[in-house]
């Protein structure tokens, strides 16, 4: 017997709930299977701002390089090559002359001229721009348009690292800092144009068929935001993602190798991991203590067992890829006995030999990311073996970074990403670069280094600069204001059919414009 319920006994909310559900589902664009010929790239965080005048997060910069061309662009060996520039030269030590290509058009069809380049730089220099790129452009005095496709950059004085600023993406003259109603950034002239932006979810780019360098082989790119590394791996396994670079846990790679047909490549990267030291601390001020810490850390064991060879041991900030790298700088291999001797010499003898008492106690700050905490635990264990007791403190990123900037730490660990010009040493170690005027967070003060760094940025001859920065590296390797740990490798996971992708040391994805699906 079936029961027919009077209407009032039906749940009155279910139809409402289902109705709402349908409405919300209806509000969505149709479920997005990838368009044919598109490559799906899995990324760990959504690009915050694609306009090259404002982009600072790594994914905005990498996606931006595919949308916006610049006067010059680094190649896979970190050498600056011409892109929009047909020719460029230095007229004197403070003037650069650029001749632009005449066959370049923005995605909206307008030709790219010197007026657009001039506008892009001037819009950043404007005090109202609030652009994070304004600081690096400080040495620029004026941009002078000397023809429809010719312009001159006048600097205040000789400043060798300024050439890096010619890699800034160019936007059309008149582009507002504000975005249109669909949050689209201004059009670029690059190999791909913005097709769709789904906030927090994905960025879809379509191939620019009129690209001056020839149309890209891929029909388009989808940058899919999948914050969880394990889920990105599962998406790859399912075939929903074709390409991933970095941001993978070390123990995921063996699984990927075994369970998917992925092509996995590892290449030397430029991301440098270090232990930062507060040089105003009475114990850490002694350079023998810093040398002892460097000797007490068994990097080799950490690299093999905890990091699955995803890194290579580092001797300093610049990786062997960098033109200014000096392989002769001193290294501090694992040697606990030597570490103990150095601590004795520094005036911190072990109070009870093999007993439990420590020579001294320091705090070590890190973020609350799981891998960072595990690494910090390992440092703690290894430093305790030579008599240095460590108190670990892990914080969420904002709090941690604020403490580091204010110099409120003994030891901490962080990484430098995307190092190209060695002038970065100025920003990190010059005595005037203490926050907020720079990143000398450990308050390092060495007049000899200051002189070298000042000479380095004012010297335009590359061989001479190489010699100066060689000296800088040797000095820092002796003095150890940072304890070098390792350079992260770039790990690329791609589906086997993808051809033509060339890895870049800084993780740039620009070569996707020449990649193709086999």
């Amino acid at each position: 017997m079936s029961i027919v319920l009077p209407a009032r006994y039906h749940c009155p909310f279910l139809p409402v709930i289902f109705g709402l559900l349908l409405i919300f589902n209806g509000c969505r664009s149709p479920a997005g299977d990838r368009p044919p010929g598109y490559l799906v790239v899995g990324i760990e965080s959504y690009p915050l701002r694609l306009d090259p005048r404002y982009s600072t997060d790594a994914n905005s910069v990498r996606v931006g390089h595919l949308i916006y061309d610049s006067l010059l662009r680094s190649d896979e060996r970190s050498v600056l090559r011409r892109q929009l520039a047909e020719d460029w030269r230095m007229l004197d030590d403070r003037t650069y002359l650029f001749e632009l290509r005449k066959d370049v058009k923005f995605h909206d069809g307008r030709p790219l001229t010197a007026a657009d380049v001039k506008f892009t730089y001037e819009s950043i220099l404007s005090p109202d721009s609030l652009s994070p790129k304004r600081g690096p452009l400080k040495p620029l005095r004026a941009v002078e348009q000397s023809g429809a496709y010719q312009l001159r950059f006048h600097l205040h004085g000789a400043h060798a690292p300024f050439v890096e600023q010619f890699t800034l993406g160019i936007v059309p003259a008149g582009s507002s800092a504000a975005v249109d109603s669909e949050h689209r950034p201004p059009p670029g002239s690059g190999a791909f144009r913005v097709e769709a932006l789904q906030s927090g979810e994905k960025v879809t780019l379509r191939a620019n068929l009129d690209y001056w360098e020839g149309r890209p082989r891929l029909a388009g790119l989808v940058f899919k935001n999948v914050p969880d590394a394990m889920v990105r791996v599962l998406e790859f396994k399912q075939g929903a993602i074709d390409f991933m670079q970095n941001d993978l846990e070390p123990d995921m790679l063996p699984w990927l190798e075994k369970n998917t047909g992925a092509d996995i490549e590892m290449h030397q990267g430029t991301t440098f991991q270090y232990i930062g030291v507060n040089l105003t601390h009475p114990i850490l001020r002694r350079h023998k203590v810093r040398q002892a810490i460097a000797c007490a850390i068994d990097r080799d064991a950490i690299i093999r067992h905890l990091l699955n060879d995803l890194v290579t041991e580092a001797g300093g900030l610049l990786s062997p890829h960098n033109w200014a790298y000096d392989g002769g700088a001193r290294r501090w291999p694992y040697d606990p006995e030597r570490a103990k001797r150095l601590l004795d010499e520094a005036g911190y003898p072990d109070p009870d030999g093999d007993g439990p008492l420590a020579r001294f106690r320091l705090s070590f700050k890190t973020t609350n990311i799981d891998l960072r905490r595990r690494l910090a635990e390992t440092f703690k264990e290894q430093l305790m073996r030579v008599g240095i007791e460590i108190e670990l403190r892990s914080y969420e990123w904002g709090t941690f970074f604020s403490d580091v900037k204010r110099g409120n730490f003994h030891l901490y660990s962080l990484a430098w990403v995307g190092i190209e010009d060695p002038d970065v040493y100025y920003q990190i170690f010059h005595s005037t670069a203490v926050p907020p005027d720079g990143d000398n967070r450990g308050r390092y003060n060495n007049p000899e280094l200051d002189r070298l760094l000042e000479r380095g940025r004012a010297t335009l001859d590359r061989t001479e600069r190489q010699r100066i920065y060689g000296e800088v590296q040797r000095l820092l390797a002796e003095d150890l204001p940072y304890i070098p740990l390792w350079w992260w490798k770039n790990v690329i996971v791609k589906k086997p059919g993808l051809r033509g992708f060339v890895p870049y040391p800084d993780g740039d994805l620009i070569s996707l414009k020449k990649a193709r699906l086999g």
Binding site: M1, I3, L5, Y9, P12, I17, F18, L20, L21, F24, N25, C27, R28, P30, A31, G32, L48, R49, D51, Y54, T56, P127, L130, P132, R134, G135, K138, A177, A178, V179, H183, Q198, S199, G200, E201, K202, K224, N225, V226, P227, D228, V231, L234, E235, K237, Q238, A240, E396, W397, G398, T399, F401, S402, D403, K405, Q427, P436, D437, G438, D439
Partner: protein
């Protein structure tokens, strides 16, 4: 009833004001400077100061708070410090995802818990009852960061029935809704079962049986309806939590909801966005509480609000 509605509406404003004020103070108290994050490593101190001035962060906290309230009254939640959009636009773009997931999780929880709890109460002590209690125990014990990936591996990777993550069609919704709904249904099964068992021994149920009413009608009309009050309370609390966003589930399933947005805004010290998100969450809670009070009256006409 009218008086009740009026009272509730009057309480609405101080509750929201309290929530946003508390968050305003807290977000400014925690360490971290949005200007540092916005301008990056290479900006000069003068540029940072200029930006701080242009954003109004150089003013005393009381003046900032006053300006925030004035803007709020005029419906202006401000602009995000990082994304090139207004706070209102960003929240509007994420809210449908959160509502969609919350509703589906709630439906999943109801579809699982009501039949299970009712069968468990009918067959008290039997295998169904034991199975329901075991399910409830498991549902409460399994964390979402474990259950979510487990469901992905089984249903997306091994069986290939659903996408792994992301937002799209209905198939994208199934796994995150079940992940969230299972935990909720575990609680509901326990509460509803206990409530049903309490009600079936009431005199009016015995009277209904003595009158010869069919058993199904007794359960639906007399038992289930009277057992609903306690369940509605729990459901409203749970639903409020879902609307505030479930950070873990949203992260695992790459679901672009309010929870992830709020945490990201806190991490980057995006003050206007944090305040906007909290305001929306507070409004959700207040509205759900309001709806729950109305539901009480609908379920049990004896409930009185002093009219």
């Amino acid at each position: 009833m009218k008086r009740f509605l009026l009272q509730r509406l009057l309480l609405f404003l101080p509750t929201l004001l309290g929530a946003v004020s508390l968050v305003f103070v807290l977000i400014h108290l925690i360490p971290g400077d949005p200007v540092e994050v916005m301008l990056g490593e290479t900006a000069s101190a003068a540029d940072k100061e200029a930006l701080r001035r242009s954003l109004g962060f150089d003013r005393p906290l009381a003046a900032q708070y006053r300006a925030f309230l004035v803007n709020l009254v005029s419906g202006d939640l401000g602009r995000s410090l990082y994304e090139p959009a207004s706070v209102g636009e960003i929240i509007r773009s994420r809210l449908p995802a959160t509502l969609q997931l919350a509703l589906c999780a709630m439906i999943a929880a109801l579809l699982i818990s009501f039949p299970l709890a009712t069968l468990a109460a009918i067959r008290r002590g039997g295998w169904i009852d034991r199975a329901a209690l075991t399910f409830s125990l498991l549902g409460l014990s399994l964390p979402n960061f474990w259950l979510g990936p487990l469901l992905m591996i089984v249903f997306s990777i091994e069986l290939g029935w659903t996408p792994v993550s992301g937002r799209g069609g209905f198939d994208h919704l199934v796994l995150p809704a079940i992940t969230l709904g299972l935990g909720m249904s575990a609680i509901l099964v326990r509460i509803l079962r206990a409530s049903l068992l309490q009600v079936i021994h009431q005199d009016y149920v015995q009277t209904a049986r003595a009158k010869g009413l069919p058993e199904k009608q007794i359960w639906l009309k007399h038992v289930l309806r009277n057992a609903l009050l306690s369940v509605v309370t729990i459901m409203s609390l749970q639903f409020g939590g879902l609307l505030a966003g479930s950070l873990i589930t949203e992260t695992i399933f790459s679901w672009p909801g309010i929870g992830r947005l709020t945490v990201q805004a806190i991490q980057t010290r995006d003050y206007p966005l944090v305040q906007g998100c909290v305001l929306v969450i507070a409004i959700s809670y207040v509205l759900i509480n309001f709806a729950t009070d109305l539901l009480y009256k609908l379920i049990d006409p004896r409930v009185s609000y002093g009219d």
